[in-house]
């Protein structure tokens, strides 16, 4: 089995791991930006330098225990749909999808920790956890960071901390983010007010699916802004507290919906369940929208579907995931395949 086939068929470790009280948080993610001494930052480097950097990192990072059983992929050996698949799975950035030359990604066995080579920085280390678990994600990223540090010479300054291609990432080089599901706040049109409050705390928010403000499925990514001059623990703590405030706000909104319009809420959720459970043709946007509603229903105790199953539907219903799994190149065929996949997932969860 090729590395690619191995990765594409393997489950996503963090999907099966929802933490019930904070189940409105889909995932917690840490990214660490690291660079090597003596090599130009990727955007400034000549092709030959980038090639040398990639080879050096790939060579020196073999045999790391926590990566055993994972895969190492050079991006220009992959088709575009395969790169999109990796993007949908949050293992690589959009830049990696669009420009694969002299870039690689190394992924641990359950896809919860990985690193990109030659993104904006030489190294982008990533760890991801299901639910709200920034500490867990940080510990995993930090452990991988230690492993890599032992094999590579990091560019580090006593004054600025880790040196990065873009100065806004310098210092800790850490970007912490959570992916949160806020359907009640969106429904109440309170989401903008909540986000204003977050921005006041130097946090950044963006819709996770869909461009700009159209946050398809009501999923949002909240992450820290500044990294320079802050300690990791402070950043994590600030994001964790802001997330819990956001969850409390969402919770209040859910209670209000429940009290004021329970039947309409139940109807909305059950109709979404009905579409997922019975449709024979399903677009990616519909799958996301309806899985989002059912996820809210699970949170409210209206419908009983394992959150892990819904998370799996969210991930596996994405366009490149469906194309890779089905081999379908036409949208109409992909939509049929997606409907079948979702239906079978829910049917199995039902029995």
């Amino acid at each position: 089995m090729s590395d690619w086939a191995h990765l594409a068929s393997a489950p996503c470790g963090w999907l099966a791991d929802p933490a019930p009280p904070e189940s409105a948080v889909l995932s917690s993610r840490i990214r660490l930006a690291r660079n090597l001494t003596g090599s130009a930052f990727p955007q400034r480097a000549r092709q030959s330098d980038r090639a040398a950097t990639m080879r050096k990192i790939l060579d020196r990072t073999q045999g790391i225990d926590r990566l055993e059983g994972g895969v190492r992929l050079t991006l220009d050996g992959l088709e575009r749909v395969q790169r999109q698949f990796l993007g949908e799975r949050q293992l690589i950035s959009q830049e990696f999808v669009d420009a694969p030359e002299w870039r690689a990604v190394v992924v641990g066995p359950d896809q919860t920790h990985s690193f990109m080579i030659n993104e904006e920085d030489h190294l982008r280390i990533q760890a991801i956890r299901g639910g709200l678990d920034l500490d867990g994600a940080y510990r995993a990223a930090d452990a991988l960071d230690v492993d890599l540090d032992a094999r590579l010479d990091y560019a580090f300054s006593e004054r600025f901390g880790f040196l990065t291609a873009c100065p806004t990432n310098a210092g800790t080089g850490m970007r912490a983010s959570i992916l949160v599901h806020l359907p009640a706040l969106v429904r109440h049109k309170e989401v903008e007010r909540a986000f204003e409050a977050l921005r006041g705390k130097s946090l950044t928010i963006r819709g996770f699916y869909g461009e700009g403000s159209a946050a398809l499925g009501n999923f949002f990514q909240v992450s820290n802004g500044a990294t320079l001059g802050c300690r990791e623990a402070d950043i994590l703590d600030r994001l964790d507290r802001a997330t819990r405030d956001l969850l409390a706000w969402e919770e209040q909104s859910r209670d209000a919906l429940w009290t004021r319009a329970r039947s309409l809420l139940e109807d909305w959720i059950w109709r979404s369940y009905g579409v997922l459970r019975h449709a024979r043709v399903l677009t990616a946007e519909e799958a996301l929208k309806h899985a989002s509603a059912v996820r809210l229903g699970v949170g409210l105790g209206i419908v009983d579907v394992p959150v892990g199953v819904l998370n799996e539907i969210l991930v596996q219903s994405q366009p490149a995931h469906v194309q890779v799994a089905s081999g379908a190149t036409e949208t109409s065929q992909a939509n049929i395949w997606r409907a079948t996949f979702v239906r079978e997932k829910l049917t199995r969860a039902d029995t």
Copy 2:
């Protein structure tokens, strides 16, 4: 138990009786217009005369075997919603709903045969059968007609046949009609062409639910036009043949849909099933529309729901039926009750 309560809780005999090859036909109905000699037609009669006619007919028609176990209702003893219920069940006309004075309806035990007193004519005898069974409906109407004829003096002329308030009904006084479900013809926009062909055969077509041409749920009523100068057998034969032509046309359209757009067809039907099976709030129009789609799915072998269950949903989901069964006077409450009713029907059919 009052006569009303007895009727409202009794099942509709013809609903449980779908004839599979012609299951696109919901029901076959015969109405016979009859009048008494020596009494003015109802519209021309004074109130006291109408009262006398009603009492006479009610008195003389007691003890008829085939009506044993049925009910006898004077309309002005009923609330408007109860009259609407009778209208929805096709036991009385809209005129009876709107103007109940000195009017009555006598209904046989399983609601498949009945007669109205003081509609446009003194008597409107009705028999109804599930599926395409005009002969069966005619035999039942004729048998009740014979019973009534033996107890009442019918106005009959050797030259004109049965005399009726409106000359277009004279002769046989018979109106034969079928209620047919033509979703594929509607979808293909061929229904108007089909109706043109019927009009050429002196048949009348109208949308059954909803006003005018907006035939909600794709149900249509086809009936004979002229009754004067025709024999009953010829009228029935003509309508039966025209119906079979229509069914063949609908069948062709269904085949074309199946061949050309099978996935979209399945999707349409299963999403309708999903709404009926899971919605928590359901309007009468939605219930009709989606039950119509599922009924098509049963005809095509896509979904397996007993046609009798769908027919029951069609009848029991109507506004007055829901109001009577639930006691709900607010639409929002009625919509919740309807969703629960439909869901439970389908859940039971599923297991």
